[in-house]
């Protein structure tokens, strides 16, 4: 196998596996920058995947090849609705963030499978027909070497995720909204004194995480699992959370970490085809994202990285 062929396989599958992680870890970044810890990303992805698959199965005949894109937006909307539970619990009702997030994770698969059974009479949906595939990018695929590796079997959702990463970075660090969002995650008392509505911004942060997490779930379901069942999303939300931490609560860092975890995940899947890697027992590749996260947390992460008021409920004094 030529080096270019190997690189093409690795990069294209890395991008496919990274895209959902990028979207979701960006979502997590928004939520935690606003001071709300979101362990519920996993559950949000489940609901996004569920919404997208149901929409895809229902509207594919009418919408054709546009279906997965619109279905991803629908997944994002479902994610917003679902994340509103977390926002309500943590921002308004002062619940512990971890408990609320765990509730989200317990609730999502149960509710989604319940609804699948109500809708289809069985625990697993049919496979969708319109899915995210590989695209040849016209023009760019003519670039020597690079065109072959990046643009002949390209994953458009991944490219979109990378674009959204930079947009998110701009929003968080260069706009007034971003500054305010970060301020309620660092010091809500001070932000409140300056007339910033802490509650509204924290809601915004969590709902953003719902949108992006839902899209993440939708992209995963429509490019990797192509159906929905209880085992569609198993741990991707947690990996995305790890990517966000790995990336030090910065969108670009989160994207980098997501790409890295995507590579690790895809190696576990495609490793058998690759020279040099096929001899590594798959167990090492399977556990590597998780072990690396722990190692990174221990070795490279100072205590001060998280937003100061992350996980702290803000209770307005009279």
């Amino acid at each position: 196998m030529s080096i270019i062929a190997v690189l093409t396989i690795i990069i294209s599958s890395t991008l496919v596996y990274s895209a959902p992680l990028i979207f979701t870890s960006l979502g997590g970044t928004f939520s935690e920058r606003a001071g709300i810890v979101n362990v519920g990303l996993e559950g949000i992805m489940v609901m996004g995947a569920f919404g997208a698959i149901v929409f895809n199965l229902t509207f594919a005949p009418a919408l054709g090849s546009m279906t997965p894109w619109i279905a991803s937006l629908v997944g994002g909307l479902v994610g917003i609705v679902f994340s509103a539970i977390h926002a309500l619990a943590t921002v308004t009702l002062r619940a512990d963030h971890i408990i609320s997030g765990t509730v989200i994770n317990l609730l999502a698969p149960a509710l989604a499978v319940f609804l699948v059974k109500v809708l289809y009479g069985k625990g697993q949906t049919d496979n969708i027909r319109e899915q995210f595939g590989y695209y040849k990018v016209p023009g760019l695929n003519k670039i020597p070497v690079l065109g072959d590796i990046l643009f002949t079997k390209a994953s458009i959702p991944a490219f979109l995720a990378i674009v959204i990463t930079f947009v998110s970075w701009y929003v968080l660090f260069k706009t007034r909204f971003g500054l305010r969002l970060r301020s309620v995650g660092e010091n809500p008392q001070a932000a409140d004194t300056l007339g910033i509505n802490v509650y509204v911004l924290r809601y915004a942060g969590v709902l953003f995480s719902g949108l992006l997490g839902g899209i993440g779930g939708a992209v995963f379901a429509q490019s990797i699992s192509v159906n929905f069942s209880a085992s569609t999303i198993v741990g991707q939300g947690f990996i995305a959370m790890a990517a966000m931490i790995f990336g030090k609560w910065n969108p670009i860092g989160a994207m980098g970490a997501s790409l890295f975890f995507g590579l690790a995940q895809s190696l576990a899947v495609i490793g058998a085809q690759l020279p040099g890697i096929e001899n590594i027992p798959s167990i090492y590749l399977q556990v590597s994202p998780y072990v690396l996260t722990v190692v990174v947390l221990v070795c490279f992460l100072g205590k001060a990285s998280a937003p100061k008021a992350d996980g702290v409920n803000y209770i307005k004094s009279k």
Binding site: V39, P109, L111, T293, K303, V312, I315
Partner: protein
């Protein structure tokens, strides 16, 4: 004010359960099912025959252990989401040991297998404990990550390391021998042929021991002290590092025992796992509902077991049994938003007590996230 709050907080679990059941009923109504039929069928399936009562008690056994594990760590301010992984370690270790020594006499085998399972859980939990104590690493993330590591390692051991002689197929081991099983004929007969086993007595003893440990010993006092205020405890001469690690080791050992019950009692073998063990998250839910107290955990474990075992009854009533997990999640939701319930119970919001969010971090958050 404080007294009133305490009274109210005893009501919170009860109200949460009622709200959870009502929410489940509403969802059933919305989708055109009859909730009365559903709940009736649920309770008959869980409690209708000696066999179903046996199964309900059997289900409660590992939940009591994982819930106790969660509560010990939680008392030290440590949020142990890794119960699933720790229980899995206990399950794999005890079953492996039992299968590898089929000829060991029962009075040596059983205590050893149980002990090894508890040790495996304790070691699994010591990792996040040590990391938290010495590096300040968030135990929430570490335990979640380790759940996946243990899940894959467990399956890897099963597929690639276990000797072929103790396997029946690629995905499952043989049954453990009579020298290691927790099942007893008289219990099985009493409970109509269910999988109820001696573990239930271990669990009851465990409840008493943990209650004693936490309320009557110096170590328990130190664990609670560190949970309430690590800085004050340190000032009073309690090593918070040592206490955090010890509380995690105890927590993991208890979770490991939950896994031992599954391995030596419920299933009597080990088989490939597709996802984290549900007794982990359910145990956490049980502990939250039972507010971490011994009697609360016992009652909450029984309630959740009724719901879990009764979910088959939902199926009989033509309702997708997943509704039961929706109910369980909503119960924990209502426990989590106790502020809402406190608001409803007392006209005066319970605001003064928790005015300082800094205290909140110390009490309920594990570490830096």
């Amino acid at each position: 004010m404080l007294k009133k709050l305490n009274l109210n907080s005893g009501m919170i679990p009860v109200i949460s359960v009622v709200f959870g059941l009502i929410l489940g009923a509403i969802i059933m109504l919305v989708f055109g099912y009859n909730p009365l039929n559903g709940y009736r069928s649920l309770f008959t399936s869980a409690l209708g025959t000696p066999r179903s009562i046996g199964e309900t008690l059997r289900q409660a056994t590992p939940l009591i252990f994982t819930a106790l594990g969660f509560s010990v760590a939680n008392s030290a301010g440590f949020f142990n989401i890794g119960l699933s992984g720790q229980a899995l370690c206990g399950w794999v270790a005890s079953t492996w040991f039992a299968l590898s020594n089929p000829d060991m006499p029962r009075f040596i085998m059983l205590p050893l297998a149980v002990l090894i399972g508890a040790l495996a859980g304790a070691m699994a939990a010591a990792i996040p404990g040590v990391l938290r104590a010495f590096f300040g690493t968030s135990e929430v993330i570490v335990t979640i990550m380790l759940n996946y590591v243990f899940l894959y390692v467990g399956n890897h051991l099963l597929h690639n390391v276990f000797s072929r002689e103790i396997m029946t197929s690629m995905d499952s081991t043989k049954k453990i021998g009579a020298n290691a099983t927790l099942r007893a004929d008289w219990l099985t007969d009493l409970a109509g042929g269910s999988r109820l086993n001696l573990g239930i007595f271990f669990a009851l003893i465990g409840l008493v021991i943990v209650w004693f440990l936490m309320k009557k010993t110096t170590l328990g006092f130190e664990i609670r002290g560190v949970g309430i205020n690590p800085y004050a405890s340190e000032y009073a001469g309690i090593s918070s590092k040592r206490t955090i690690i010890l509380s995690m080791i105890i927590s993991g050992a208890l979770a490991g025992l939950g896994g031992v019950i599954e391995g030596l009692g419920t299933f009597e073998n080990f088989f490939a796992q597709g996802a984290s063990l549900s007794i982990g998250y359910d145990g956490m839910a049980v502990s939250l509902l039972g507010s971490g107290s011994a009697i609360g955990i016992l009652l909450a474990a029984l309630l959740f077991s009724v719901l879990k075992i009764g979910s088959a009854g939902m199926n009989i009533a033509g309702i997708p049994p997943e509704i039961v997990n929706v109910v369980i999640a909503s119960i924990i939701f209502f426990v989590g938003v106790k502020y809402l319930i406190q608001l409803i119970l007392s006209k005066r919001p319970a605001r003064k007590v928790k005015d300082n969010p800094k205290d909140k971090v110390v009490i309920s958050e594990g570490g830096e996230l």
